[in-house]
Amino acid sequence: MIKRLFVGVIGLVILVAGVAWAECGFQNDIPLASLSNSFESWKVVTDAMAECGNFTAELDQNFSQKQPAAMAANPSQYAIGGVSNSTLVPLLSDGLVRPLDDLVAEYGQDLAPSQLIKVDGQTMAIAMQVNAQHLMYRRDVLEALDIAVPTTYDEVLAAAEKIQASGLVDYPLGGTYAAGWNLGEEFVNMYLGMGGMFFAEDNMPAINNEQGVAALEMMKSLTSYMDPEFLTADSTYVQQQFQQGQIAMANLWATRAGAMDNAEESEVVGLVEFAAAPAAVPGGPPATTLWWDGMTVATNISDAAADAAFRLMMEGLSFDVLSANPDTAIWLSSGQIESRIAVGAVESARGGAPSYPASNVMGLLHTAAGNNIADFLTGSESAEATLADIEAEYTAAAKEAGLID
């Protein structure tokens, strides 16, 4: 009897261990760490990487504030840095991430060419997902009021007017208008959608123009259909407004799309559909910017550690892992992953939406916009004065950084 039990236990152990081994293609012996944002998709990928052993993942919303300093240490505190268009900039400009071409040649057979982020021909990061703000709407509300899916912001306003009159939801629109980065991003989207350019020669700002005023005016028109507390609304807040059935439309991040169908949180499972971001001007591109998230390998680690880190990354980004979580993110992969949530971003890209123009000067302008636009939306300043304030704040910061003379 005891013997049988013993054999049974052994069998069980082998079974469990066997499963663990099967999850990962190799056993990692070098202790490695990663630092990245805290999206659900990062959790999926880093969990898969952890199965190879000796790997700890740090998921932190404020990762971008510690990443450059931590990776400048020698040896770098993190072998792997999770980045996006904009957070790659400081790592790149300070030489903190290494070219990956050799490693891609050795281990990256399964990567799609579009996953390779190249700077002057060298692969500096591996992209894993695409993200963008795009239109999410309540199918049932639009159908009940016989409204076609809006393709321009003028149509969005017309639809919002009808929805407001119907009283079907508390507020027709939602928006990530929280002062700071979110609000800055909304302006970047709208201004590019209006056909604006951010900089003139020599990094001088050039937003105080017709397109700038038009972008601000449109943002203000939209806010009149939002919850009056819009200046504190971040992505999570807007996501919850959707989930609780309070709003009917919003230009929201693709990473939030999966949550609409999460039955534990959402009262509108299956009712939220996705489409391209509306255009700011008829016939123009969707007023949004395209983002990618991906991984980099630190310069300040040994080649052996970099080798192991890259193999871990390939485990995390393997088709099996990504295809098991199709609605977590819009994954980039050489294999085909069917996902309901990809349509909005894909349609936006197809419509000609630009990728976010990340650079150090753009970072400063983005911050200045996020800090000043609230004054216009609350009515305490005119559009022209607000744009002048943004330019002044940008100029002061850029001068202090030495980016302009």
Binding site: S84, I117, K118, E229, T232, W292, A358, A396, E400
Partner: protein, 330 residues
Amino acid sequence: MFVLPSLVMMVAFIAGPLAAVMVQSFQQTQDVFETVEQEQCDPFGCTTTQVTRPQLDDEGLPITITKWVGWENYRVLLDGKSVRAAFSDAGQGFRDLTDIDFYGALRFTLTFTLLTLPLVIVVGLVLALAVNALQKRVRGPIIFVTLLPFIITPVIGALSIRWLFIGDGILTAALERLTQRDIAMFAQGWTIELLMLFYRVWHVAPFAFVIFYAALQTVERDKVEAAIVDGASRFQNLRYVIIPHLMPLIVFVALIHLMDSYRVFDEIIGFRAEAFRISLQWLTFDFLIPDDTGNRSIGRASASAVLTMIGIMIILVPLLRNTWKEHRRG
């Protein structure tokens, strides 16, 4: 000899950093930039743009230069040009002034400090007198409950109050039912300011209460009874016997509170108030925090920190002068 360790610590952890901040407020540290044409490919295609990037030295580290800039950081922060514009014929005076970050922050910080001060002292005193009038047996539990707001971590306290009021939070919903109208506490500045003031008083009054309550235990019974025999009313007793007895501690609480609340910061973060109200401390923080692409303004952050410190000193002067006079007289 015995003070040496403490002296060393003071220099290392207080005087040193302070001097460093002062020095940095007259400096700017910059990367040496070069502008190059760069091709970048991402999932959405390849683009070639002019990129301004730092030059790296032989070891792959960015080359930086630090230069003395005189009052430049202060000049940018205090923005004299915009101030003159605000008070010119075309400007709207005070309203335009508070649209400039520094003056808006100063306005809020001063209002916040000067309004919460009397409230904290009065509420603390009333609580102390009330608890002192209770039977001895129930005092313990009551003191414990009264102290709770002070024990809660400030940011957590601010967040919980925010959640009570944000959107259709419990208290907003209750207020809406009572008043039969739609209320949005976080849609305009003055309601947020009111909530922040309320929160600070709620949070700090227990501190004043504990100090005053302890002091009340030392009021001599004879004096109070003598006053009653002389026909003093309760109010006169309070006014002429108890408050003079508590006066040194009232000054102490006021000092601590002024210093603390001039550095108001947690509330701005907790209530996510930065669209409407910012404080001087928050302004320093905002300069210091790097954006996504790694830029930050150490020079202006240092200047703003120095000005905050000077502000605290100025605001403490009347109280300190009084204390000094008392001291000399005593």
